[in-house]
Subunit: 212 residues, 2 copies
C-alpha cells in the first residue's frame, strides 16, 4: 500500500492543494475518492469515521489522520523539508494560508460551486456578495506578486500551494478569467505550473468528468 | 510605551481574539484604534503602512508587525508558553483555527455586519446563504464540545481563543442566540469567561458604542 492516502475528489480545490503537494514532493500516495456530489461528506458515517468537519481533503499517514489543507501542507513540509517556510517566513506563510482559506479560495470555492455546479445556481445577490470578496482578495494577491516570483519571495512555499487551490480550474467554471485579469497572478500560476510534478486537478484526482 | 500595540476596534471579533489573548497572558499592551466604519482599513495608507490585507488586527511588537489573528495567537502562545498546544495538539489547534476563520467566525462576522451594522442591511438571499454555513459550523463545534471542556481537551488553548471571536457579542446583533441554541457552546463560553483576565470585547477595545 502506498505510504499516504488522500481523501479527495477532482472538483475540490481544497483537496487539490494537498494532492499537488504530495505530487511535487514525490510522495508515494493514492487518492481515495470522496463522492461529494452524492453527499458523502454530509453523512454521519463520513463525519464519525473520516472527518468531523465534513470536508475533504483528509490525509492518512499510518495511524495519523489529518484534515484541513493548511494542516496537511504544514505537516508534509515539515516532514519532507520541501516548500517549508523557514524563520520568520513560517508565520508569514501561515498568514497567507489563513487569508487564503477565509478570503480568497474560501469565497472562490463557493462562487464556482454556485456558478457552475449547483442546481439551481446561486442567487444573483449571493454571487454579487461573493464576487466583491473575491475581487478584493485577488487584488491583494496580485499586488503582493508585483515584485516577487512567489508569495514569500524567490522560492515557492506551502503558502503558494495553498493559494493556487482553485486557480487552475477553467475560466468558464467561474464566468471570469482570473489569470487574464490579474497579470501578476497569471505569471505566478505559470511559474508553479512549471515545477516538476505539477499536474492539473482534473488529472490528479478522481471524479472528472462528473457523470451526466 | 507598553510592550505591545494592537490595531483593533471594539466591533471586530477578529481583533478580539488577539486582545483577549494579550489580556489573558497578562501582557503589557495598548490598543491603537482603527476607524473601520469610516473606511480606514480600505485606505491606501493603511494598506501600505499597516496591513496590505486591509484588515485588523495587527500586532506590533518592537520591529515585528503581525497580522491575521491566527498568526498573532500562535506568536503569543509560543513566546509566553500560555494557551500553547503541544505535540500533536499543535496541528490540531491549527485545524480548528483554519476551520474557524473559513467556516465559523468567517461567516458569522459577515452575517452580523449585514444584520446589524451595514446600511442598508444584507439581502435576504445572502443572509440565508451565510446562515446555512453558520448553522453547519456551530453544529460541528457544539458536537466537538459534547465531551470536552475545551476544543482540544481539558485545557484551553489558542484554538478556543480563536473560536470565541464573535461569540460574546449580544444576540440581538445576530438576530439569534448562539449560546442558548447550542448548550455545549454555551457552557464552554462560560468556562472561558471565568478565566482570569477575561473581558468583553466592548470593554477591551476602543470604539464602542459607535457614534450615532
Amino acid at each position: 500500500m502506498p505510504e499516504y492516502q488522500l481523501y479527495c475528489f477532482a472538483q475540490s480545490g481544497n483537496a487539490y492543494r494537498a494532492a499537488l503537494m504530495l505530487n511535487l514532493i514525490g510522495a508515494d500516495w493514492q487518492p481515495i475518492f470522496v463522492d461529494f456530489f452524492k453527499g458523502e461528506t454530509r453523512t454521519a458515517e463520513y463525519r464519525s469515521t473520516v472527518n468531523e468537519m465534513g470536508e475533504a481533503p483528509v490525509l492518512v499517514h499510518g495511524a495519523k489522520k489529518l484534515s484541513q489543507s493548511g494542516v496537511i501542507l504544514t505537516y508534509l513540509a515539515e516532514l519532507s523539508g520541501k516548500f517549508l517556510p523557514r524563520g520568520d517566513d513560517r508565520l508569514d506563510a501561515l498568514r497567507w494560508i489563513i487569508f487564503d482559506n477565509q478570503k480568497l479560495n474560501g469565497s472562490l470555492a463557493s462562487y464556482r460551486y454556485l456558478h457552475s455546479l449547483a442546481k439551481p445556481p446561486g442567487h444573483p445577490a449571493v454571487m454579487e456578495f461573493l464576487k466583491g470578496r473575491i475581487d478584493n482578495a485577488l487584488g491583494i494577491l496580485d499586488k503582493r506578486l508585483a515584485n516577487r516570483a512567489y508569495v514569500l519571495g524567490p522560492e515557492p512555499t506551502i503558502a503558494d500551494l495553498s493559494l493556487v487551490g482553485y486557480l487552475y480550474y477553467p475560466p468558464e467554471e467561474f464566468g471570469f478569467d482570473i489569470a487574464a485579469e490579474h497579470k501578476n497572478i497569471g505569471a505566478w500560476l505559470n511559474g508553479i505550473k512549471a515545477l516538476p510534478g505539477w499536474a492539473h486537478p482534473y488529472d490528479l484526482m478522481p471524479g472528472y468528468p462528473l457523470p451526466s
